[in-house]
Subunit: 362 residues, 2 copies
């Protein structure tokens, strides 16, 4: 059970710690730092243009020989829905008036791309050691081509059913993403993915999925300290994925308001977070700020993923907007975060986990 | 850290396992079986008349010399709200028509009593070794009288703030109740306790509270196997509280439909559960049945705790009603439950936990 080699042999990393890909919050600097410390660094590609992915991967390969992961979203693109967009603009209109900003400059918003032919060709060209997907898997033909490159394939499950679905389609490991996790819940088998009432906590999800699948399970959600790593292994995981803890590192490229909110949470030892669809259209865990509180956490007016975020762009750019109208992604254990360089954090996480394991030995 | 004696010395039990009090689902038989196996057995008093509490406590003391806990709800009684009751009856009316039952016989519904002068006098008379409260604490004068009996006092927290609030008022241990837990969430410091969007999972809540308070922390929510017990200790708990796993025992007095639903969940290795207020007015985790799906999980029409359940009584008594209109309390790890006598389960839980701890030693 502990620490085992199931995940490290599969991924080729020295430690069974996966750095969670966090689109919009990091580039290759974080990936490289984690890889160099022995974890599996990840590069989130959903918000990068393909030429950016190429240059970031080149930089990773220049600076580390360790394996790394490229992460892609694989949601089906929603049809444009002008009625829904209009309803959302009306819902947000009072904020534009209050902040004195124009609702016109909405093209600047980051968009999230799915996994299409061109993305698949990029993977075939770049041949990353590991590819992880979020929101399920790409269609079978594309998935087969990714696998044919020799890449190890990971994806996240938020229920036993999703775990079994992923295993049947040949993933090499299932990431069991509990409801504590920051950012987007991977949920893809619910009829209405904005219904968060049945999301399962990490403490129950990890042993349920570990009991149901044969492939290794990577625990995610609420893991940012060594004691959580040891706990995840006790529950049946073969490794962990750590997200919010890395937002505290200097390598994270988050906005100052986001960093300030995280540091305030750590200072207080507590933070209010909620799964909200106001920032993108899909439920994702953010600290509670004004728009989450007043419009969310779940708004029936928000257009389908990923377009809900577009209308918020001018609000985010206004003074105070970054704190009150931008996503402040954070998992529920974020208040336990420490401000350290990412390599130091990676080593510390593992040293702490080993120390906790040692305490069981007495 | 492991297993330590902080909780066992405090409570006087041999094992750091508290059997969660489950009002309406058990009497003294379960309490006694757990006590005899070394855990802390609990008797839930919220739905018992005082003479029933007396006779159950007499039976416990006849059959075991081990310490036990009496559990009380300590919610403030809501003022009767005829408008709200009427709105709720209208919301449920179609089901009465469909099932062909009368809405009149509502007096038979179980009610939940708070902790008042008479309950306090009962505790002073019975002098249980441990008293645990749910939904906060009784008012200061009553709490002081309970403490003056020498009883150890426990209460549950669903946030860091609730944990600190309980510690400041002198509890001997804080039960960190994660969102995975079956039955009622203890939440008492939120302005609107029916808002469940910020409930924290066990994996994050236990280390957050353990970092914030000095008293021992008992982990609750999603714990029904030895690996979960070991994980809870890794996260910083000094003991665990186990609920749903005991619903599978022969000592649990649950309805056949409830037992059948639990057994189906265990056979499938999965179950849909949600925090719902439809059964009582306060959020509590139940398996998803027809009324949860169609009226809940959170309904703004449900009257304040505990009166929402009264109007459902005739539906529960109808054929099929016990499966579709009665609470099917279950935590998110309930599918991991095993059907065993409660003493055997208690011993198994501990043996499993010791085995998991041993695996860390290598």
């Amino acid at each position: 059970m502990w620490p085992g080699t199931r995940l490290t042999e599969l991924l080729g990393s020295r430690l069974p710690i996966v750095q969670a890909p966090m689109a919009g919050a990091q580039g290759a600097d974080l990936t490289i730092a984690v890889c160099e410390a022995g974890g599996l660094g990840s590069l989130p590609c959903a918000m990068l243009r393909h030429e950016q992915v190429r240059s970031e991967v080149a930089r990773i390969r220049e600076q580390t020989e360790a394996p790394f992961s490229l992460n892609f979203f694989c949601h089906a693109g929603a049809e444009p829905d002008p009625d829904s967009e209009e309803r959302w603009r009306r819902r947000l209109a009072p904020y534009f008036v209050e902040l004195g900003v124009e609702a016109s400059s909405t093209d600047a918003a980051p968009s999230r791309s799915g996994f299409d032919e061109a993305a698949c060709a990029l993977v075939e060209d770049l041949r990353p050691p590991v590819v992880s997907f979020h929101f399920g898997l790409p269609e079978a033909g594309l998935l087969a081509r990714v696998r044919a490159t020799g890449a190890r394939v990971l994806s996240s499950a938020t229920s036993v059913e999703e775990g079994l679905w992923l295993e049947e389609r040949g993933v090499d490991a299932v990431i069991a993403q509990g409801a504590e996790a920051g950012g987007h819940q991977a949920t893809f088998l619910r009829a209405d993915v904005t219904d968060v009432s049945e999301q399962v906590g990490t403490f129950a999800l990890v042993p349920l999925i570990a009991s149901a699948v044969r492939v290794p399970v990577v625990a995610a959600g609420g893991i940012g300290e060594g004691r959580a790593i040891a706990a995840a292994f006790a529950l049946g995981a073969s490794g962990v994925q750590v997200g919010s803890a890395y937002l505290f590192t200097e390598e994270a490229t988050i906005a100052p308001a986001h960093r300030a909110a995280l540091e305030a949470a750590a200072a207080a030892g507590s933070a209010r977070t909620a799964l909200t669809n106001v920032f993108s259209g899909r439920p994702a865990r953010s600290m509670v700020n004004r728009i989450v509180e007043e419009v969310g956490p779940i708004s029936a007016d928000a257009p389908a993923f990923p377009s809900a975020g577009r209308a918020l762009a001018p609000l985010r750019s206004a003074p105070e907007g970054a704190a009150q109208f931008a996503s402040l992604w954070a998992g529920q254990a974020a208040p336990l975060g420490r401000s350290l360089p990412a390599s130091d954090l990676t080593r510390l996480l593992w040293d702490e986990a080993v120390a906790v394991a040692g305490q069981f030995a007495g």
